[in-house]
C-alpha cells in the first residue's frame, strides 16, 4: 500500500460521511423544519400505514425527500461529467457545458416556454425535460459535426473547444431572443430555469435521473484508466493500448446523457462541474479512477448545501440555485487556487 492510495481511501470515506450529514440536514431544514423523529416516523408509516401520514410527513415524503435525492444525483452528474470532460480535453478549465450540451438544453427549454404559451398545446410533466434533452443532444451533435476536420475526418481538441464556444454563443443568443419575445410569466420561467432550480423534483424525475446517472457512472468507470493514459497525450495513450477514437466517442456520449438529463430536470447549474474536480485535484492528485467517484460524492455534498442556502436565504421565497453555486463556489475556488502550489 502506498501513501496516496490510503489517502484516497480516507478521502472517499470522509466524503461519504459528509454526504450523509448534508443529506440529513437538507431533509430537516427548509420552509418548515422537520425533526429526525418525524422522518423516522414517516418512513415507518409509509411502509406500514401510508394513509396515516401527517401533513409534515406528507411534505417530507412528497417534496423534501425527492428534492434531497435530486440534489445528490444532479451534483454527482455535473461533477462527474466535469471530471470526464477535463480528462478528455486534457484541460483543467473545461466544464461540462463547453461542448454545447447545456446551452442546447436551455434552448430547448426556452423554446418550450415560449411555444407552449403561444400555441397553448397541452403539456405533460415530461414535455419540458424532453424538450431540453433534445436541445442538448442536437447542440452537442452540431458541435461534433462542425468540428470534424475535412482532411482526415478526425476532430482535434482545439477545434472541438472553439466550435463549442461558437455553438454556445448561438444557442444562448437564441435563448436571449426567446426571453425578449416572451411575455412576463414565460420570460420569468426562462430566467429561473437558466439559473437552475430543484423545486420541481418529483419521484418520477428522481427515478429517471438516478437510473441514467448510475448507468453512466458504471460505464465511465471502465474508462478511467484510459483517461489517465490520455493525460500524457493521444500518442502516448495509443502506445499503451488505448483506442482513442472509441474512447472519445464513448466519453462524449456518457457526458451528453449526464448533462442533458440533469439539465432537463433542474435547469442550468454552473460551476459545479468546473470546481468540484479541481477542489479534489488540489489535495488528492488527478488519478481519474479516484476523481470520478470522489467528485460524485463531493458534487452531491456541495449541491445539497447550495440548495439548502437557496431555500433558507430568502425563506419562504427561493433563490435560484445557480446563483448560490456561483456566489459560494467561485470565491472558495479562487482562495484554494491561490493558497496551493498548483501546477499547470
Amino acid at each position: 500500500m502506498n501513501y496516496l492510495k490510503s489517502r484516497h481511501t480516507l478521502g472517499l470515506f470522509v466524503l461519504l460521511i459528509l454526504l450523509i450529514v448534508t443529506f440529513l440536514l437538507s431533509l430537516c431544514f427548509g420552509a418548515i423544519s422537520i425533526s429526525l423523529h418525524d422522518i423516522y416516523d414517516a418512513v415507518y408509516k409509509i411502509l406500514t400505514a401510508p394513509d396515516q401520514l401527517s401533513l409534515v410527513q406528507r411534505i417530507f415524503i412528497d417534496i423534501r425527500l425527492p428534492r434531497a435525492i435530486a440534489c445528490v444525483v444532479v451534483g454527482a452528474s455535473l461533477a462527474g461529467s466535469g471530471v470526464l470532460m477535463q480528462a478528455l480535453f486534457r484541460n483543467p478549465i473545461v466544464e461540462p457545458g463547453l461542448i454545447g450540451t447545456s446551452s442546447g438544453a436551455a434552448f430547448g427549454a426556452s423554446l418550450y416556454f415560449v411555444l407552449g404559451a403561444s400555441l397553448k398545446f397541452t403539456a405533460s410533466e415530461w414535455t419540458l425535460p424532453i424538450a431540453a434533452c433534445i436541445g442538448g443532444v442536437i447542440s452537442t451533435s452540431l458541435v461534433f459535426l462542425l468540428a470534424k476536420n475535412k482532411v482526415h475526418g478526425k476532430s482535434s481538441v482545439t477545434s472541438l473547444l472553439l466550435t463549442g464556444i461558437a455553438i454556445n454563443a448561438i444557442f444562448l443568443s437564441a435563448v436571449g431572443f426567446f426571453s425578449y419575445l416572451a411575455r412576463d410569466p414565460q420570460a420569468r420561467s426562462i430566467t429561473f430555469w437558466n439559473l437552475g432550480t430543484l423545486s420541481g423534483a418529483s419521484w418520477h424525475s428522481v427515478a429517471i435521473m438516478f437510473i441514467s446517472t448510475t448507468l453512466c457512472f458504471l460505464a465511465a468507470r471502465r474508462y478511467t484508466k484510459q483517461l489517465n493514459a490520455l493525460m500524457m497525450g493521444e500518442e502516448e495513450a495509443f502506445f499503451i493500448g488505448v483506442d482513442i477514437r472509441k474512447l472519445k466517442l464513448i466519453i462524449m456520449v456518457i457526458n451528453v446523457i449526464l448533462v442533458a438529463v440533469a439539465t432537463a430536470f433542474v435547469g442550468v447549474i454552473s460551476f459545479v462541474g468546473l470546481v468540484v474536480p479541481h477542489l479534489l485535484r488540489l489535495s488528492f492528485g488527478s488519478d481519474n479512477r479516484f476523481l470520478l467517484l470522489a467528485s460524485a460524492l463531493l458534487g452531491g455534498v456541495l449541491l445539497t448545501l447550495a440548495d439548502l442556502v437557496a431555500r433558507l436565504a430568502l425563506a419562504p421565497a427561493e433563490l435560484p440555485i445557480g446563483i448560490v453555486t456561483a456566489l459560494v463556489g467561485v470565491p472558495a475556488f479562487i482562495v484554494m487556487l491561490r493558497k496551493s502550489n498548483y501546477y499547470f
Binding site: 502506498n2 501513501y3 496516496l4 477535463q86 480528462a87 486534457r90 484541460n91 483543467p92 484508466k225 484510459q226 489517465n228 493514459a229 493525460m231 500524457m232 497525450g233 500518442e235 502516448e236 495509443f238 502506445f239 499503451i240 493500448g241 488505448v242 483506442d243 485535484r281 492528485g285 488527478s286 488519478d287 498548483y342 501546477y343
Partner: protein
Amino acid sequence: MISVENITVSIGSKPLLENVSVEFEPGKLNLIIGPNGAGKSTLIKVISKQLVPKTGTVCFGKSDLQSISHSNLSVIRAVLSQNIDLAFPLTVREVVMMGRYPHFTEKPGKKDEDAIEHAMKFFDAWEMADRNYMSLSGGEKQRVHFARVLAQIWFPVPDNYRYLILDEPLTFLDVYYQYQFMNKIRELLQREDLVMVGVVHDLNLAARFADQIVLLHQGKVVVAGEKEKVLTIENIKQVYQLEPKIHTSENIMHLLF
C-alpha cells in the same frame, strides 16, 4: 526481430519513405540516423503502427504488424518519445504505473507493482516515487518516462520478442543525461529477447553506443549495417554535406566537423 520490407509512405505526391527495407535484430542497439527530413520519424511511426504504409510490410517476429491487435501489441511493444508532458498533477508512481495499464484491467497486481519498482530502480527514479511529476526537472521527467516504458515490457513474453522503440528520447537532455541513458540502454541489451530501435540526432552518440546503424537520406536507405561500415567519411559527406574527421581512440569513434 523487426523486418521492414519495401515500405513506401507518401503525403500527397511527396514521398516520405521510398522502398525502405531494413531489419532490426534482438540483443543489439539499432539506431537510425540521417539529416532533418530524411524520414527517420516516419520510419519510427510506421514501426510503432501510428502510420500504415501505402505499400510494403512490417513484421514483428513472424507476424505482420497490421494483424496484431492494439491490445496485444501494447503488451510486447513500448515506445518512448521526446518531451512528454502531463495535463494534470500525478505522482511519479502513478505515471510509471501507466506503463502497466495494458497488463491489468481494474487494479494493478503484485506483478505490476514489482515491474514498476524494478523499472524505477533501474533508472534511478525510485526515490521520487511519491513526488509530483509536475515539480520535476526535464531530466527527472525523462527518467520517469524511461521507467514507464521499461515497466511496460519488464517481464519477458513467452514465445515472443519484446520491442522497445526510442523516438529521439534524448533531444532535450544535457550531455550528462544523454550518456547516462545510453549506458543504461546498453545495459538492457543483456536481455536477449529485446529488440531495440532508436532515432538519435547526435552522430557521436550513435558512433559510441550503436551496434547497427541505418543511415537514411531523402526517404531512402543510404547504407545499413555495422557502425564502422556506415559511419565513413564518404557516407557522411554524401548525406550531411559536411566532411568529418574521424578519430578512433580506445576503440571509440569520434566525429569532428
